[in-house]
């Protein structure tokens, strides 16, 4: 008995020793910088090494919230996020259901859908930028050869054509992640349910809406949260494909530019806080929604 208590005590002490280093590192790289960001956000803080920081209260926030460039970036980011996450959910579920069926070549399909996921975002952005190149891009060449368009289109020059292309890149790259999560979710559905439904004469459509969809919903919601949070902070794809075009900056690009190009840690930090709040609103909405639909 005494020995067991002794063991518990030793385990408890060891637990502390093991957890503390990781917690310290997490605090150093997330907690401390986050506190700094909150502090900088109320300062006029130029990183030129000359002007000393001074308190401006909510001045930086007011500047951003009245800056039409910022709202434009919010609009671009929201359009991008809603479209790409919706498409990814629909395509992800389709691919997951196909990959969950029995057919020849199923394992090949499962490997093939992993490839876009493994490609670095910078690389996929470059590949797609090349495919949609205004002169040599295969899309333009094919479309003009088939006489579908009268002349070549500079896809990446205006938001009307560039944003859909960028959404396509994101869908291409991240649908695999969605499919994999959903595939795991589909695997948890007991096969008897479908057999019972077949005996009752349910059609495939009925089975999808009354068995597959409700049962895969919890997994789908988790996947949606992950993907939405990722999409809202999109940086790489826009930076690579249309970087430098102010009318296609996302929230993250707006933020990074204030920090790096204008060396303004005050406005850069206030932008970070606003982005964090927008992301948190989405998290709250999702958790609300998942609570109301499962209780």
């Amino acid at each position: 008995m005494a020995k067991e208590i002794d063991l518990m005590e030793r385990q408890r002490r060891l637990a502390w020793y093991l957890i503390v280093p990781a917690v310290l590192v997490v605090f150093l790289v997330i907690g401390y910088p986050l506190i700094q960001v909150l502090v900088y956000s109320v300062l006029k803080y130029k990183l030129d090494g000359v002007t000393p920081p001074s308190f401006v209260g909510l001045g930086n926030y007011l500047f951003i919230l009245t800056d039409s460039d910022f709202w434009h970036a919010v609009a671009i980011t929201l359009i991008f996020s809603v479209c790409s996450v919706t498409l990814e959910a629909v395509l992800g579920l389709t691919v997951a259901m196909v990959a969950n069926s029995n057919f020849k070549g199923r394992s090949f399909l499962r490997i093939a859908i992993l490839i876009p996921w493994a490609i670095p975002t910078v690389v996929s952005s470059k590949i797609w930028a090349w495919m949609f190149n205004d002169i040599y891009g295969i899309v333009n060449v094919l479309l003009t050869n088939l006489h579908l368009i009268p002349q070549k289109i500079a896809f990446l020059a205006t938001p009307i054509t560039a944003v859909p292309v960028i959404i396509a890149v994101d869908v291409w790259k991240t649908t695999p992640f969605m499919s994999l999560l959903l595939l795991a979710g589909l695997g948890l559905i007991p096969g008897d349910l479908y057999e019972a439904a077949s005996i009752d004469g349910a059609t495939a459509v009925k089975k999808f809406f009354s068995i597959t969809l409700p049962l895969v919903m919890p997994t789908l919601l988790v996947a949606l949260i992950f993907r939405t949070l990722d999409a809202l902070r999109v940086f790489d794809i826009f930076y690579i494909m249309v970087g430098g075009q102010g009318n296609m900056a996302t929230m993250a690009i707006y933020n990074q530019q204030w920090l790096v190009s204008f060396l303004d840690a005050g406005i850069g930090s206030a932008a970070s806080v606003i982005i964090l709040i927008i992301i948190m609103i989405f998290v709250i909405l999702y958790t609300r929604f998942s609570k109301t639909s499962f209780e």
Binding site: I19, V23, V29, Q36, T94, V95, I119, Q256, V273
Partner: protein, 280 residues
């Protein structure tokens, strides 16, 4: 949704058509990039799927480019060290969270899960100033430190799930034999979590290898750039004249090792990706 033999031939044809569409959509851009990387500049606008002439010129060109080679070395060092540090700190912490009695286990796990989804952009200025203050701006050490933001919480979370899933009996027997908790971890549990270490390590490596925002923001010289940033800055004589052949060749050099790893460790990677997310 198991495919049944009783289904009509039309449905089966449609099903296979869907499979083909999925395969083409997933593979075409990648294959097109490979083909472009071997295509001589003169044929660059050709749409033939198989190039009439092959050239290794673009690969020659990029391996003679010291920026690309330096970037490649930097990426290997940064991603490698990030993974090693995350696995070391993360698996120790995960052992405590998954296996040892600990009063604040719930809150700590909750914080770790929140951190796995933490948007990196929100601490960009904080890290920028911190790295400058620590004289780690524009260094590989600085990048490694900031990369722990996304690799460490993730490693802790996934490894905790692994430690939890191991049977209790193993360690109980060892404790009866008088082993200490640390010995139980080192000699009994850790060897059993090797599959978990492989999958989290690979996922962390891929994440660090692909990272762009921090690498772009926290490094400024060619000596310190990682390879994604180098590729993003490849340019020709003028900004209108991008060296697409070289860009595609460089892209393939940084991508093909990952694709091969993913193919080999397919099951491990899928297990790591879905751990946590599905169990919730």
């Amino acid at each position: 949704m198991k495919e049944q033999d009783s289904k009509s031939p039309l449905l089966r044809v449609l099903f296979y058509l869907l499979v083909v569409v999925i395969l083409v959509f997933n593979l075409f851009p990648f294959l097109y990039a490979i083909v472009s990387s071997f295509r001589p500049n003169a044929d660059l606008f050709s749409t033939d799927l198989f190039p009439k002439a092959f050239t290794f010129l673009h690969y020659d060109e990029i391996f003679k480019d010291s920026r690309f080679v330096t970037g490649l070395i930097n990426s290997i060092i940064v991603a490698g060290c990030t993974v090693l540090i995350s696995l070391a700190l993360g698996s120790l912490c995960a052992y405590a969270l998954g296996r040892l009695p600990f009063r604040f286990k719930g809150p700590v796990l909750y914080i770790v899960l929140t951190m796995t989804m933490f948007p990196q952009i929100s601490v960009l200025s904080g890290l920028f100033v911190m790295l400058k203050g620590l004289n780690l701006f524009n260094t590989r050490q600085g990048l490694i430190m900031t990369y722990l933001i996304f690799t460490l919480p993730f490693t802790i979370w996934v490894m905790t799930q692994y430690f939890r899933s191991l049977p209790r009996e193993l360690e109980e027997a060892a404790y009866v034999d008088g082993a200490s908790p640390l010995e139980v971890f080192w000699k009994i549990l850790l060897p059993l979590t090797v599959p978990g270490l492989v999958s989290t390590g690979l996922l962390a490596f891929i994440a660090a290898w692909n990272e762009f925002l921090f690498a772009l923001t926290f490094t400024v010289t060619d000596q310190m750039r990682t390879v994604p940033v180098v590729i993003s800055q490849f340019s020709g004589a003028t900004s209108y004249e991008q060296p697409w052949g070289a860009i595609m060749a460089a892209s393939m050099v940084v991508t093909i090792p990952l694709v091969i790893l993913v193919m080999i460790f397919q099951y491990r990677i899928v297990a790591g990706l879905t751990a946590g997310a599905v169990k919730g």
